[in-house]
Each structure stands twice: as C-alpha cells, then as structure tokens.
C-alpha cells in the first residue's frame, strides 16, 4: 500500500487539519471526537447534521457551510462515528429549533446515530433522524439490512440544507428530507477496489476484466460481477436498474448526478454523463439540473454512480438556492 499519509491511526484527524487550514472561512474543526462545524455556527434555525465513516470525501465534511450542513461527523475510514462524536456535533450546532440527522442506511451508522439522538433527546433537544436508502442494487426487504445510502445523500444534504437555511421549522425540514428520500435512486459500479489505510490491502479482488455492478461506497460487493463492457452498454444497464425501481415517464423532470467513485478520470465521468443524458432525453425525461464529479467517493476506487431524483419546482428551487461549502458552491 502506497498512500500519502503519516499513520493510518491519525489519517482522519491529519486530513481534517488540512481541511481546516484550507477553508477557515467556512468551517471549524474540533478533534477527539472529530467534528466539522460551520464557522458561523450555531444554527439560528434547524441544524442539519450528517456523518459516517471517512473515505467518501468530499462527503460529508466538504459540505459544511451556508446552505448545506451545519455539522459533519467523520468517523474513522469506512467506519461509523461513535455516538459521542455525533453528540458533540449536535451540541456545537443545535439550538431550540432542533436538529435533523441525515443518516446513510448502514447498520453501524443507523445504530450509532440513533443512540446519539436518544442521548440528545434526553438532554431536552428535539433531534430526529432521517435515513437515506437510495441504492437500488440492494433488494429492500425484511431479509436484508435494507438499501444503502449512497449518491442520493449529496442531493439530500444540499436540498435539506437549503430548507433549513430558508428558515423552515423541524417538521418542515424533516418533510423535505423524507420527500427527497422517496424520490431519489442510485446505482454504482466499480472497476477497482479501494484500499483502507489501516487495512493496507484492497477491500476486494476484481479480475483484470471484471467490474462489480451495484457496488456500495465501502467496496461492499454489489449485485453481480460482470465482464467489462463499453460505456454505452454499462450506462444503459445502470439506468435500467434505476428505472426498473422508479419508473420515469415522458415529461418527468429529474436531477441527474453522475458521480466519480474517486479514482476514475473526470474524462470518463463526463463521458458516462453524456450517455445518461442522451438515454434520458430519448425517453422524453427532462434533465433539469445536473451534478458531475467526485462528490461521494470510496477512496481511490475507480467507478461511477448514477443518481436520479424526480424533482418538482419546489425541490428544484431548493437545489438552486445559494450554497457555499468547500466542495459545492453556487449562487454566492
């Protein structure tokens, strides 16, 4: 394993130090437990907090700032943060208006954030959880841990952050979050595996001509292994997986998010995005907003994910609202 790190044990804190130095105008970092909060916190209204294992940067720490998150809780690489860290982010940012925790559906994240919310509620704060589970690769049933939270998380954080910034109360912010969760679906594919610093070896083995279809963002195995195929066929397969789950009709308006898993050249990410746009246009689906780039990654994993959210004027307006974070910025 070659990595630009000092020590696997301190990699998250060391990286946060760089984030703090680079974006002192936007964020403040506290250590042990590690949290990232807005430089201008605490929130005047509802505090929006997210977090999870590190290694998916810029998610979540790069999305802290006006118009998006009030706090982010970065756990160790690919490992949920513990309740005390989540609690620290809650206390640092949350006032009478309460907090909404945006939690990706992984057993670890859900259990740790649930525990934190319970503890915070015991302190008299109104703290609620919304769990995002947009990954269509996983069959959602009582026989699994349920769908994972993946690319849709980025859209969720942007839109919910905008609702809180607008001054919506906790009920309203929570309703916006649930509406996004209902309307967003994602599917990912990996060409190579990530290497977790403290593990030192690739998280899985893929043959020189194999891809993992339906990959999660921790290198969890996906739906199936496939032989590599041209981008056109791959993107068709990905969109089919999305629309099998959430049918799209002629005239539907969507936000399309083509995400790099981290190690894929941007050249290829835009190439895939172009194919997805064309396929959607052919079906009469209107792509009204788009996001392309590495926003929710899996360390150096090569691959992409596609996220589609059915939108409407209300959600598109929240998407368009100004945002000023290290990784996402417009309208300011």
């Amino acid at each position: 394993m070659k990595k630009i790190i000092n020590d696997p044990a301190t990699v998250v804190a060391d990286s946060l130090a760089g984030l703090a130095a680079a974006h002192a105008d936007l964020v403040r970092v506290e250590y042990d437990p590690d949290i990232v909060v807005r430089a201008d916190s605490p929130a005047r209204g509802v505090s929006v907090i997210s977090g999870g294992g590190s290694g998916h940067e810029p998610l979540h720490v790069g999305f802290v700032g006006p118009g998006m998150l009030h706090g982010a809780v970065p756990g160790p690489v690919f490992t949920s943060p513990t309740p005390d860290a989540v609690q620290a982010a809650i206390s640092a940012t949350t006032g009478d208006a309460g907090a909404l925790l945006l939690v990706k559906n992984y057993t670890g994240d859900v259990l740790n954030f649930e525990t934190a919310a319970e503890l915070a509620s015991a302190d008299g704060l109104d703290v609620r959880n919304v769990v995002i589970d947009d990954d269509v690769a996983v069959a959602d049933s009582t026989f699994t841990a349920g769908r994972r939270g993946v690319g849709g998380t980025v859209l969720l954080e942007k839109i919910v952050g905008a609702a809180a910034e607008r001054g919506d109360d906790l009920d309203a912010v929570e309703a916006v979050a649930r509406s996004v969760v209902e309307r967003v679906r994602s599917i990912g594919v990996a060409l190579t595996a990530p290497t977790v610093p403290h593990v030192g070896e690739p998280s899985f083995d893929l043959g020189p001509n194999e891809i993992e279809f339906g990959i999660g963002i921790h290198g969890e195995p996906g739906r199936e292994r496939l032989g590599a195929e041209p981008a056109q066929a791959l993107v068709e397969r990905m969109l089919a997986a999305l629309t099998d789950d959430m049918p799209l009709e002629r005239g539907d308006e969507v936000v399309l998010f083509t995400n790099s898993m981290g190690g894929t050249p941007l050249l290829e990410v835009y190439l895939a995005h172009g194919i997805a746009e064309r396929l959607l246009a052919e079906r009469g689906v209107r792509v009204v907003r788009r996001l392309v780039g590495p926003y929710i990654t899996s360390l150096e994993m090569q691959g992409i994910s596609l996220t589609v959210m059915r939108t409407d004027d209300r959600l598109t307006e929240l998407w368009d609202a100004p945002v000023n974070t290290p990784a996402l910025r417009w309208g300011v």
Binding site: S80, T82, P83, T107, L111, T115, R148, H198, F204, P221
Partner: protein, 210 residues
C-alpha cells in the same frame, strides 16, 4: 466461587489480548462479505477499554461492565460498537450493584446481553450475525447454571463456536454481508467469530481464576 470486579477486569483484559491477537483474522473475515474493518473496530475499542481500566477500575462487576459498555459504544464504531456496547450495558444493568456474581447471575447477564443485541439490531438466529453465536451460548449457559461459573462460560463458549460455524453456509440477512445476497453464503460471520472468541476468553479467564 463467585466472580468479583477484579475477575471481570481480568476477563476483559484477557479479551483485549485475544482481540489484538485475532485483529487480522477478524478483519480478513470481514473482507469478502463486509468492509474489512471488524478486527480494527474491536481492537480500537478494547485498547481503549484497557486504557480506561488502567486509569482505575470500578468496584463492582456491574460498574466494570458499564465502563466496558460506554467505552465500546464510544470507541468501536461500526455496527459492532452499539451492539456489543448495548450487550454490556444490559448485562451491567442486569447484575445491579452486587459485589460478586454467582453462576446464575452470569447467565442472567449473558441473556440480558443477547436481548440487548436483538433489541438494537433486530437480527434473528439464522441471519448470519453475532446472534447466531450468542443465542445458543445463552441456552448452553443456562443449562449449565448449576455447574458453576467456569462451566457456564465453557459451555457458552463451546456453543458459540458451533453457532459461529453455523453461519458459514447461511445467507446473511443483517449487516453489510446481507448486501451480498447468495454470495454471502460460504463465509464465517466476523461478528459471530468475535463473539465466540470473547466467550472462549471469558471461559479461560474463569477457569484460571477458580
């Protein structure tokens, strides 16, 4: 023949050694069906627990178990942190303020731990999780109650080993491994393995102490 705070401390220290020794093995088990961190997670938590204990251990078995619970909850992370943390917390509550535990109390503590894991994680036997090791361990412990603490824990450890092995052919239905569907079959569940390792260590610790 009872088990005092010092005995619980000794068992937890031994558990920390076991986890450190099996760190790589547990992570490797978590590689094909999970995210390759179970050994790291457990080791981080138990290392912190040893540091806490070095700082001065509480005076009752229940208080020691509670310290273990809060340390594991705040340090292990992942799914295993809240699950093991809850198990120790429920066990701590179950044994109350007693300064010594008899074998019945140990069984009660084990059962409370299992109930806590199930309450948090909602897994059933057969879902290929730590519950597959812990549930039969509790039954075996119960059956051995009258034979003393060492025998209770030895029985629990044997049952947990068998229970852990039983996860190999299973298709996982909870935790990350469930994402694999059919492909999760053929693998020993890392959490079930760590549960079996912990119980075996507790049994050994009890055997030495007595």
């Amino acid at each position: 023949m009872g088990c005092g705070a010092q005995d619980v401390v000794a068992a937890l220290r031994a558990a920390a050694d076991t986890v450190a020794e099996h760190r790589v093995e547990l992570t490797d088990l978590d590689r094909p069906i999970g995210d390759a961190d179970h050994g790291e997670n457990m080791n981080r938590g138990f290392t912190a627990l040893v540091a806490s204990l070095d700082g001065g251990a509480p005076e009752t078995p229940g208080a020691v178990l509670k310290l273990a619970a809060t340390t594991l909850i705040s340090k292990v992370g992942g799914a295993a942190g809240p699950l093991y943390g809850t198990a120790f917390l429920r066990a701590a509550t179950a044994v109350g303020q007693a300064s010594e535990l008899n074998s019945a109390a140990v069984v009660t503590a084990l059962r409370a731990g299992l109930d806590g894991v199930v309450a948090r994680g909602k897994a059933e036997v057969g879902d290929a999780t730590m519950v597959d090791a812990l549930a039969p361990a509790v039954e075996a412990a119960q059956a051995a109650t009258s034979d003393g603490i060492a025998a209770v824990l030895a029985a629990a450890a044997d049952a947990a080993d068998a229970g852990a092995d039983s996860t190999i052919p299973l298709v996982a239905r909870k935790g990350r491994a469930s994402y694999l569907g059919q492909r999760s079959a053929g693998h020993l569940d890392p959490g079930a393995r760590s549960t079996a390792l912990l119980l075996r260590t507790f049994a050994a610790s009890a055997g030495v102490a007595r």
